[in-house]
């Protein structure tokens, strides 16, 4: 990081380089898939400028991954590239940006602005920069934000060589849209209200535009699937009640698609045991129930695994100077008992290095469950990142 005065205002430049090795415990089962090791390199830049008055700022966050196995996972994206004006009551931002809505841990249901970068990971926490004009106002009665999104971003999908892929290669060149076959034929809109009243945090959201989740349809080429991004309207609500060591969380949506109107929800709690060791470590236990009422017919709805599932997890924060923490959890399908799980550990070494270990595993997967295509894809990832 370097701070220097230049052309007035404050410049801040940073970067990070991550080296990653993902190791699969079993060989691939689909044609073309590699067997065991997936080395990868992550590069991220971070350039910020803020005017002396603090009213204007400019942010550029380019990101690239170079993957040793899957050429679809090798990709570049501008995670953020925007200019912003902030006044006392109003904020206006134009460019590519990332937005997060919601409160739940196991599923991000109301969070709809950004497309997921699923070649990064399947946990829906990596997002593509979304081109937008965002206008926001903060008042006594809460924050209201409007979004106009003129450009659509297609979801990223692993290639033929890649692991953690569907039984079929999803080809974005074959993508179709409800708003006409043009990717940017229409403009997407969203509105978000967010506030807190005592122990309650409340969010309400509205979205109209192309669904970020495509249906996956057979194409004229055998073994190749065509994504179809339907035109949808969605209402969402997210609530959190915070009392003592309890966090109670709920997210719900109603989505109208050309074929159906359905509801989905995720809700549960996080409870923390503070100071469980002499050094002050905290243990949080989490439980969330996931429901999704969409059709199971792939011709009608985008596939989801979170239709009737229970997430149980734990988070251990050591509260040491290296910020060491551990996270573990399992999602169980209550209909057939299929399980997917994760274990994550992270710590800092010195001031500039972070070491992370992540494992995803699939156990007891029923042949009829969507997860069955991942049943041999249990893996562990070691990542070492140097920050500059």
């Amino acid at each position: 990081m370097a701070s220097m005065p230049a052309m007035g205002g404050d410049f801040d430049v940073g970067a990070s380089v991550g080296t990653e090795l993902r190791t699969f415990f079993e060989g691939g089962t689909l044609p073309g898939q590699f067997d065991t090791f997936q080395p990868s390199l992550q590069l991220e830049g971070d350039v910020r400028w803020q005017s002396d008055s603090g009213e204007w700022d400019l942010v550029l966050v380019p990101y690239a991954r170079i993957d040793g196995q899957d050429d679809r996972r090798t990709h570049f994206d501008m995670r953020e590239a925007f200019v912003r004006w902030s006044g006392d009551e109003w904020t206006v931002r134009a460019g590519l940006a990332k937005v997060f809505w919601g409160v739940a841990e196991s599923r991000h249901l109301v969070d709809i602005i950004n497309q997921y970068d699923t070649v990064e990971d399947i946990d829906e926490e990596d997002k593509l920069g979304q081109p937008m004009l965002e206008v926001s106002t903060i008042r006594d009665w809460g924050q209201l934000t409007g979004y106009v999104m003129p450009v659509f971003r297609k979801r990223t999908f692993v290639g033929r060589d890649g692991r953690l892929r569907f039984n079929g290669i999803i080809d974005n060149d074959l993508a179709r849209f409800g708003e006409g076959n043009e990717q940017n034929a229409d403009v997407d809109f969203a509105l978000r209200y967010s506030h807190y009243i005592g122990d309650w945090d409340v969010g309400l959201s509205f979205f109209h535009g192309a669904s970020r989740e495509p249906r996956l349809l057979a194409s004229s080429q055998p073994g190749v699937l065509a994504p179809f991004y339907d035109d949808i309207t969605q209402f969402g609500v997210d609530l959190q009640y915070t009392k003592d060591a309890w966090l109670w969380k709920f997210e719900g949506i109603v989505r109208e698609t050309p074929f159906e109107t359905f509801a989905a929800a995720v809700g549960g709690f996080e409870y923390s045991f503070y100071g469980i060791t002499d050094s002050g470590a905290d243990l949080g236990v989490l439980m969330e129930y996931q429901y999704d009422g969409r059709s199971e017919d792939f011709q009608v709805a985008a596939p989801t695994i979170a239709d009737n599932d229970l997430f149980v997890g734990a988070r251990l924060a050591m509260n040491d100077s290296q910020d060491t923490d551990f996270l573990g959890g399992v999602v169980t399908d209550l209909d057939d008992g299929s399980m997917s799980g994760l274990v994550e550990a992270s710590t800092r070494i010195g001031d500039f290095w972070v070491v992370e270990l992540e494992s995803r595993f699939f156990v007891n997967v029923d042949n009829t469950n969507l997860l069955s295509v991942f049943r041999n894809d249990s893996n562990v990832t070691l990542r070492v990142t140097r920050y500059f």
């Binding site: 997060f100 945090d201 503070y274 002050g280 040491d320 100077s321």
Partner: protein, 271 residues
């Protein structure tokens, strides 16, 4: 034996009553609790009217073996003069680089739980967090959350326990007991100087009433309006041998911050 003690007690009461009638009632009616509160209040109120402040700081964590790590952060504070509500504050990390932009927004209350939100810049996520964790370490340091967030006058009961000298100053010794829930301390012993009425040192006693930590506040500087600020805080943990110091740069006061700068919506603008 019992009757003897009772007898002595009767005598003492009688004697006190006798002396009491001969002295000014005002001087005697001030209990150790009242005097303790008065000294603490005088100290607390020396900075009334600062309105808002902004300051950057370097936190240095030293482990038992003497190895150090540092973090740079900044604080923004909005004063609320009503002593029945707490101040609002925003703490933002600049380093280490992997947590740059991580921020904690806190609306302090007096006896109820504070309202707190954490901002995680990698995910752009604002998360309401529980403030029940008063006694947990703040970012791995020897400071507990409550050491930062529980500086309000009415969060404690006070008791004056005499005069002492510290670092060449005559100081009042005031013991304070947390009134709020989930504190890691059974009591704290503070030394407040008699010249400019600032807290110079605090000994923290854990729930077993053994000495846990000592906070030394030094490099006091006076700002416009008679507002004093310590520029070096050193917290020493006697039980682990670790310590943490916070070195503050110059404070800026009355920077024009308002309630709107301390709502959760502003967290998303940080990074």
């Amino acid at each position: 034996m019992f009757s003897n003690r009772l007898n002595n007690f009767t005598k003492t009461v009688a004697l006190a009553a006798l002396i009491g009638t001969g002295l000014s009632t005002a001087a005697l009616s001030q209990s150790a609790e009242e005097k303790g509160f008065e000294i603490a209040a005088r100290s607390d109120r020396t900075d009334t009217g600062f309105e808002s402040s902004e300051v950057t700081a370097v936190m240095t964590l030293t482990n038992a073996a003497g190895r150090t790590t540092t973090r740079e952060l900044y604080f923004k504070t909005l004063e609320r003069e009503n002593e029945d509500v707490g101040d609002k504050s925003l703490t933002v990390f600049e380093t280490p680089r992997d947590v740059q932009g991580t921020a904690l927004l806190s609306h302090a209350k007096i006896l109820e739980a504070d309202d707190q939100w954490l901002y995680l810049p990698a995910l752009k996520r604002v998360k309401r967090i529980s403030s029940a964790n008063k006694s947990g370490p703040f970012v791995g340091s020897e400071f507990a959350f409550e050491d930062f967030t529980s500086t309000e006058l009415n969060k404690y009961e006070y008791r004056y326990s005499g005069e002492d000298t510290f670092d060449g100053m005559t100081v009042d010794v005031v013991e304070r007991t947390p009134r709020y829930e989930n504190s890691g301390y059974v009591r704290q012993v503070s030394l407040i100087d008699q010249d400019v009425f600032q807290v110079r040192k605090i000994d923290f006693y854990d729930r077993k009433n053994s000495l846990l930590k000592t906070l030394t506040l030094s490099d006091y500087r006076e700002y416009e309006g008679g507002v004093w600020r310590a520029h070096l805080l050193t917290m020493e943990n006697h039980q682990t041998g670790k310590s943490t110091s916070i070195a503050y740069s110059d404070y800026a006061f009355k920077t024009g911050l308002a309630d709107n700068d301390f709502v959760k919506g502003v967290l998303r603008r940080i990074r």
